[in-house]
């Protein structure tokens, strides 16, 4: 742990002290946030947290970037959540600017270390991430670009009981400008991952004592989870100082077993697959420079999401404690309608020495209605940050 902290301090000090040079540059940021619903569920846990991040990028040539970073987040009300994230990566852009082809190669490593346990056994969930991407672009003409790529993400957990998550995407897209200043970007892809699921589920006496954190892992089986997605984006200027973006996305599982279930958060098994869902979304974003020296972004989005069947522990108000009751007793699917909006201001200031100072303010609001009461919630988060490059 001391080595990790030393590494983090080194990155932060370097990031804040040195000037931009030919063969390296630095990025330092500090962010303070406040939220009224940290876990984005019925619990409404309020929290304020501060994050410090430092990055150093090294360049041996103009086609290669090596990056190292450390990111420490301190949680005020829940100090056990405090953690440090650290890692590095390499990016290669080996083709010349004169080529009609563009090749992007990227490999990153990230590690997470926790000050203490998140749940009763959450030290199991300290994890390491490795992600890589290979993508190739081709400029058909001045208005048309096509691309194809592979993306792979591996999340390895500290505990041997928790199955590592390995997600692979293959995708292709086309970007074309039509009728003047109208850009259309269509992307489609196919994803594959392994996941752990509960093949059979038998409630006992109406109260489901069968699922307990202590035996949760042994009841699971492994299978494949495949999905495809389509996303169409339309963007164009609105006047001379504003830009509009509209995005529609659709995702569907191709071979999910209807009878299977996964574990959720409250079993003590912090399922990596809870975030897997199918559905569609519509997003609208506006970016504008109407306020002098300021970048203003506004976004509104709607998501309809059908999640995998999930088993959770329930909270009994009359007992005032958490029991091993499953709150999706009837195998009820979690189906959410989420509305979200955000607003951000940033004021980038470049000094004569080339260093960028960028203070910013962001607010974010979510209204989520779910078929499962635990996930009907609202969330408001505000954050201020300063970024120095």
């Amino acid at each position: 742990m001391k080595i990790k902290l030393l590494f983090a301090c080194f990155i932060l000090v370097i990031g804040n002290s040195i000037q931009a040079q030919s063969y390296y540059n630095t990025d330092f940021s500090i962010t303070a946030s406040n939220t009224d619903n940290l876990f984005k569920n019925y619990s409404n846990v309020t929290e304020h947290f501060t994050s410090l991040k430092g990055t150093i990028n090294l360049y041996r040539t103009d086609i290669e970037q090596l990056s190292f970073f450390a990111d420490y987040t301190n949680y005020g009300n829940n100090p056990n959540l405090s953690n440090i994230k650290y890692g590095g990566g390499i990016t290669l852009l080996p083709l010349s600017d004169s080529s009609e082809f563009t090749l992007f190669l990227n490999l990153n490593y990230q590690g997470y270390s926790y000050k203490n346990a998140l749940t009763t056994n959450s030290s199991d969930f300290s994890n390491e991430n490795i992600d890589g991407m290979i993508s190739l672009g081709y400029q058909v003409n001045e208005k048309t670009n096509v691309r194809i790529g592979l993306n792979s993400t591996l999340t390895g957990y500290a505990s041997s009981s928790v199955t590592d998550k390995n997600l692979r995407d293959i995708f292709a897209g086309i970007n074309i400008s039509l009728f003047g200043s109208n850009a259309f970007d269509l992307e489609g892809g196919y994803s594959h991952e392994k996941y752990d699921y509960l093949p059979e589920y038998h409630p006992d006496f109406g109260i489901h004592y069968g699922i307990q954190p202590r035996n949760a892992y042994s009841l699971l089986e492994k299978s494949d989870l495949n999905s495809f997605y389509l996303s169409l984006r339309y963007s164009r200027p609105l006047g001379n100082k504003s830009g509009l973006s509209l995005t529609y996305s659709f995702r569907e599982f191709t071979d999910f077993k209807d009878s299977s279930m996964i574990y959720g958060f409250s079993t003590g098994y912090l399922s990596p697959w809870v975030a897997s869902y199918e559905g569609n979304s519509v997003q609208v974003k506006i970016k504008t420079y109407l306020i002098p020296f300021t970048i203003l972004n506004f976004g509104f989005g709607y998501w309809n999401s059908s999640y995998l069947k999930t088993l959770e522990l329930g909270y009994y108000d009359f007992l005032g404690e958490l029991l091993s009751r499953v709150n999706t007793e009837d195998g009820q699917l979690r189906d959410d309608d989420k509305y979200q909006m955000f607003l951000s201001f940033s004021i980038p200031i470049v000094t004569s020495s080339g260093r960028l100072f960028e203070p910013s303010l962001k607010i974010d609001y979510i209204d989520n209605n779910s078929s499962i009461a635990n996930y009907t919630f609202s969330n408001f988060t505000a954050s201020i940050s300063l970024n120095i490059k």
Binding site: A20, Y23, S33, K40, F49, N57, D62, D71, T73, Y75, L81, N83, K85, L93, D97, F104, Y112, L118, F125, M133, S135, L136, G137, E142, K143, N145, G149, D169, F171, G173, N175, S177, G180, S181, N182, D185, E187, G189, Y229, Y234, R236, P237, G243, T247, A275, Q283, K285, Y289, F293, G299, Q340, S344, P348, I349, V350, T351, G354, D364, N368, S383
Partner: protein
């Protein structure tokens, strides 16, 4: 049904209304922000140069900074004046459409919170669920 026709009319009006925006003969928007990617941003502050004053001064307690496009970027044709990191940034800018895919619905809507990816799923302390 009327609402659908109304929305469709707005979209069609947007598509066929022409907006003149500087930045090159051809409009191209690879990053989806609605702005022409050919607009020049010599001082690299993410605000196109034509949308800001060229010089602004801000006095602090200790020293005075002059905010202006640096001489480093004064002539983009002289690429030899760019540092290695800046040359890489130019390559990276041209490859930005290749650097991520949209398989995660929320990747294009992230407001930048560190505690969560702005989705109904969450990431707390680096654990995503």
């Amino acid at each position: 049904m009327k609402l659908k026709y109304f929305l469709l009319s707005i979209i069609m009006a947007l598509v066929f209304s022409f907006t003149v925006q500087a930045g090159g003969r051809y409009f191209i928007d690879l990053d989806g922000d609605g702005f022409n990617d050919n607009i020049i941003d010599y001082d690299n502050n993410n605000i196109p140069d034509e949308f800001q004053s060229k010089v602004k001064e801000l006095k602090t307690f200790t020293r005075t900074f002059t905010f202006s496009p640096t001489t480093l970027f004064a002539d983009k044709s002289k690429e030899t004046q760019l540092t290695v990191s800046q040359q890489f940034s130019l390559h990276q800018f041209k490859a930005r459409i290749l650097s991520k895919c949209r398989s995660n619905f929320d990747s294009d809507f992230n407001s930048g919170q560190s505690v969560s990816s702005s989705s109904s799923s969450g990431c707390v302390g680096g654990i995503c669920f």
